[in-house]
């Protein structure tokens, strides 16, 4: 009897979220796709097995990024098929590691060999579930196999580390596995091998075998450093501004002369204006960057000669970046409606176009880089001035793809997009967590956009809205409003709100409090700081809803408005302006 077999490969945390540099995140994600592909291929090679998700294309090949969940119909013993998939995954990972281990032997502590092998062999979290599949009950079997897998995953078994050396520092990425890098002091001596610089492994950084695999799995230059993405709007503006042409030319020449690692643009035209790590635009980074690369010249002199002239023209860049996390809404329900394995396969083939669509939108049309696009998920980093338009374009294209793929589904899946806005020098793992948190906030109402700003000091601001409320236009209007309305006014309104009763307090005279809140807000906005002769702003024109006598509702509306204006001010700061201070 045929069976439906569902395989899950993880843990996503270790593959993707534990990342300091762009390459850690990108290659970790790539590795997970590669292992999923190995499992899918192993299953496809078993006679009588039909891949459903992902589905083979017309040429019988697996294309695009493959999600870490694989569904197949198997004719033979399902347990043997699952074992074949598990073996293929473990072998693929081992093979990757063994190739790298030879290549990077100069970086490895010989005493850590056994610990490293154990780290690799215990990394993968593999789960498979299988149920019988009768001819006329594909939907039921799919539900049962999903349920079986979910039930099995309530026990995530693990084994202890038995090959630890003890006394060794832990990986800077996960904090649990021992470092496999050479140690000893002084680090400038023990870590002077050029491979350390080539793979940007800091003197005090520690990497376990998985961390090293992610850091060195690809080739340097293949990955766009996060500051280069975050500052892409700034470098593009520098390229487009006539006064900046000469300082930019001199800077590029100096970067080449000093041997800064170069970034390949690879279908991302926006990298070309400054194909280097843009952290060099941040004065605080001059010294550590030169130190990391072992450049003997004075970083301060470099900064004064080549960077400060650009700061004089454009101001210092706003060193933040957007982590965009998008996820389809109601996909489970849509898939549940598919009546047969063939219908599911057809849907899988249509959905497999999403990675290509996402790459075009993010990398070609906006200043961004896709880290992962597979299934109904997109994870990307984008320069802040492009982030909202990028989210909107992704949502529109996703909906068009769903219209085409699931014409009969009601309701059809939509897309929720979370955008975490954090400092370009934060770890990729922390930025990803911020993006995911924003995505979760967007998923509450679905078909929504959520922006979550985390300042370098840890302070947070948020704005969430459904796409049908047109959040882009609202924020653009707010940004325009901030040209005349000082942020001080927003802060005063927020401070006034904090002094009034909380919205959850039970108030006997709520209507009275609502009137007071309306009057106090209007009065705060009308005070004289707007300048001589300026008319008091109309709250409604500012997008501030003070109607009615429902105190709690008004409290929520004002608080949301303050948060939205904070986010708008943050977005305004990210837009580079030709004259210093113009956008501030």
């Amino acid at each position: 009897m045929p069976h439906l077999l569902l395989v899950h490969i993880g843990p996503v945390q270790a593959f993707i979220a534990q990342a300091r540099r762009t390459r850690d995140l990108w290659f970790g994600s790539h590795l997970l796709v590669e292992l999923s592909r190995a499992a899918a291929r192993a299953l496809a090679s078993i006679p009588g097995t039909k891949l459903i998700f992902p589905a083979l294309d017309e040429k019988g090949e697996l294309t695009g990024d493959i999600a870490n969940k694989i569904l197949a119909e198997v004719e033979q013993d399902p347990k043997t098929a699952a074992e074949a998939a598990r073996t293929a995954v473990n072998k693929a990972l081992r093979a990757r590691w063994e190739t790298l281990r030879e290549k990077l032997s100069a970086l490895l502590d010989p005493a850590a060999r056994e610990a490293a092998d154990e780290q690799i062999d215990t990394l993968v979290e593999f789960f498979a579930a299988y149920v019988p599949l009768s001819e006329d009950d594909y939907r039921g079997a799919r539900e049962r196999v999903e349920e079986e897998l979910a039930a099995r995953k309530t026990l995530r078994d693990f084994v202890p580390f038995e090959r630890q050396r003890g006394g060794a520092h832990k990986s800077s990425l996960d904090g649990a596995r021992e470092t496999v890098l050479v140690g000893g002091e002084p680090r400038k001596e023990t870590r002077k091998h050029p491979l350390f610089q080539q793979y940007r492994i800091g003197l005090r950084e520690e990497l376990d075998a998985i961390g090293l695999l992610k850091r060195a799995g690809g080739e340097p230059g293949q990955f766009v450093p996060l500051p280069t993405i975050g500052l892409a709007a700034y470098t593009t503006r520098a390229r487009q501004t006539p006064q900046c042409q000469e300082p930019m030319r001199k800077l590029l020449e100096a970067c080449r002369r000093l041997g800064f690692p170069q970034v390949r643009s690879k279908g991302r035209p926006w990298v070309e204006p400054f194909p280097f790590d843009a952290q060099i635009f941040l004065p605080d980074r001059w010294e550590p960057y030169f130190d990391d690369l072992g450049i003997p010249e004075s970083p301060r002199a470099f900064g004064k000669q080549y960077i400060e002239p650009l700061h004089d023209l454009l101001g210092e860049p706003h060193p933040y970046v957007a982590c965009l996390v998008a996820d389809g809404d109601r996909m489970g329900a849509a898939i549940d409606s598919l009546e047969s394995a063939e219908a599911h396969q057809r849907f899988s083939r249509k959905l497999s176009r999403l990675p290509e669509i996402a790459r075009e939108i993010v990398e070609r049309d906006h200043h961004g880089v896709v880290v992962y696009a597979g299934g109904d998920d997109v994870l990307a980093f984008v320069t802040i001035p492009d982030a909202l338009a990028c989210a909107k374009a992704l949502r529109e294209q996703f909906i068009a793809l769903m219209d085409e793929s699931l014409p009969g589904a009601a309701p059809r899946p939509t897309l929720s997009v979370g955008i975490g806005l954090g400092h370009v020098l934060e770890s990729l793992g922390d930025l990803l967590a911020l993006g995911r948190e924003a995505e979760q906030a967007a998923k509450v109402e679905r078909d929504s956009l959520a922006l979550l700003v985390e300042m370098h000091t840890g302070a947070r601001k948020a704005y969430i809205a459904r796409f049908d409320a047109d959040p882009l236009s609202i924020l653009q209007k707010d940004i325009a409003t901030l040209a005349t309305l000082p942020m001080k006014k927003v802060h005063q309104v927020a401070a006034m709100l904090r002094r009034l009763p909380h919205r959850e307090e039970r108030l006997d005279d709520a209507a009275h409090w609502a009137r007071l809140l309306r009057l106090d807000t209007s009065a705060t906005l009308a005070r004289s700081e707007l300048g001589a002769g300026a008319a008091a702003p109309d709250p409604a024109a500012l997008g501030l809803d003070l109607e009615g006598d429902d105190y709690a509702r008004m409290h929520v509306a004002i608080e949301a408005w303050c948060g939205r204006m904070e986010v708008a001010a943050f977005l305004a700061r990210a837009e580079p302006s030709v004259k210093k201070g113009e956008a501030r």
Partner: protein, 390 residues
């Protein structure tokens, strides 16, 4: 040995740094555990005990002697506490890690809580370990319950007692929000000559707040065995990284006492981990072996006869790395079963778990690392749904 109970009240948050160090990003960020782990608390108590010895003897102890003379300090019980400001600590202020047999979901506006009760496997499975007995463990099939929600880290004492000892589902969302807030402390290095910040030398740490804006205080209730003849010095203890001050406050032994009015004999037993547990083979409890029928059989502390492990709901390992203060070097990583994990048992002879056994199991320790406060358990009732297979 002498047993003492008290509460530690961290005054300015807790920073319980994980094993990553500060080199996690270009700008140095130390990451903290969501809540301090018991070995961190024991480390703080040993440091205080050592300081007390040195003060009493008027001399510095070399690291080896320091290590030797404080080693016998054992952390028997650790309970997280949350009380409204101004109240004395009482059993109702205990909070417990959210049990993993509770499924938190939402459907529309409503939040749902579903009890996950394991039953024999319905389909076939295969996972990473080549251990058929793991695949034969029972598992829960709750059906579709809406969208999974991230559970709160803690439940109130009232909710947990209801969960463990009655069929009723507690109203978790009506309880105060038991989520300690967090803040980021940013530090800079100052140039001694100019008293200005050194370029690029900024770093930050994640702090768990211990005073809530809702008017409550978080604390740690501890029950500690001290080496014979030694006492902890009075006054604050320094806890976690950056040695944040945590004054001691006397508590009643009742804080650690079992809920006698609730304990009743039960056909099946649930053990919820109140603190992480350490087993030699990962999730399988020490002393449990698989039979030819792929069933784990072993013994539990304070329970007569052999028991069968029916199910384990474990959300993955909690990897704990520590710092050896005496050797000034990192300790090896221990992979622990996280607090909140739930194990289900029946007796091999089919007899019920008696009240006296349940009483003895209350906050007893299970597994390894018991001196570090690991493996503290909460017993609870379980009625297996498919008794014929028990």
């Amino acid at each position: 040995m002498s047993l003492v109970h008290f509460a530690l009240r961290p005054r300015d948050g807790i920073f319980s740094k994980d094993g990553r160090g500060y080199y996690t990003s270009e700008i140095g960020r130390g990451h903290g555990h969501a809540w301090p782990l018991p070995p961190t608390i024991r480390g703080a108590l040993r440091a205080a005990l050592g300081r007390g010895i040195m003060e009493h003897e008027g001399r510095l102890l070399p690291p080896s002697e320091y290590e030797e003379r404080t080693r016998a300090l054992a952390l028997e019980k650790v309970i997280t506490l949350y009380r409204p400001r101004g109240h004395a600590f009482a059993p109702e202020h205990r909070v417990w890690p959210t049990p993993s047999d509770a499924l938190h979901t939402s459907s529309g506006e409503a939040s749902l809580l579903t009890r996950l009760s394991p039953e024999p496997p319905r389909g076939g499975t295969l996972a990473g370990q080549k251990e058929p007995a793991l695949e034969a463990l029972w598992r829960p099939y709750p059906g579709k319950k809406g969208k999974a929600q991230r559970p709160p880290p803690f439940w109130s004492d009232a909710a947990m007692m209801q969960w463990l000892w009655s069929d009723e589902i507690p109203s978790i969302h009506a309880a105060p929000t038991l989520v300690p807030s967090r803040r980021t402390d940013v530090h800079v290095t100052l140039e001694p000559d100019t008293l200005t910040a050194t370029p690029s030398m900024m770093f930050s740490s994640e702090i768990v707040e211990t005073t809530s804006s809702e008017g409550g205080d978080w604390a740690l209730g501890v029950s500690v065995q001290l080496p014979e003849g030694l006492t902890l010095p009075p006054g604050p203890i320094t806890l976690g990284n950056r040695r944040r001050l945590a004054p001691q406050e006397a508590v009643e032994a009742a804080l650690f006492a079992p809920p006698d009015d609730r304990l009743v004999a039960t056909p099946g037993l649930r053990l919820v981990l109140a603190t992480p547990a350490h087993f030699e083979r990962g999730v399988v409890p020490d002393g449990f072996e698989a039979t030819a029928e792929h069933v784990y059989v072993g013994r539990l502390p304070h329970v007569d006869g052999k028991v069968v492990l029916r199910s384990a709901l474990v959300p993955g390992p909690e990897d704990v790395s520590g710092w050896d203060m005496a050797k000034r070097a990192p300790k090896p990583t221990r992979r622990l079963v996280p607090a909140g994990s739930v194990y289900f048992f029946v007796k091999q002879d089919g007899a019920p778990f008696e009240r006296a056994e349940l009483r003895a199991l209350w906050l007893t320790q299970w597994g390894r690392g018991t001196e570090d406060g690991l493996g503290v358990v909460l017993p609870g009732r379980w009625i297996p749904e498919r008794k014929e297979n028990a």
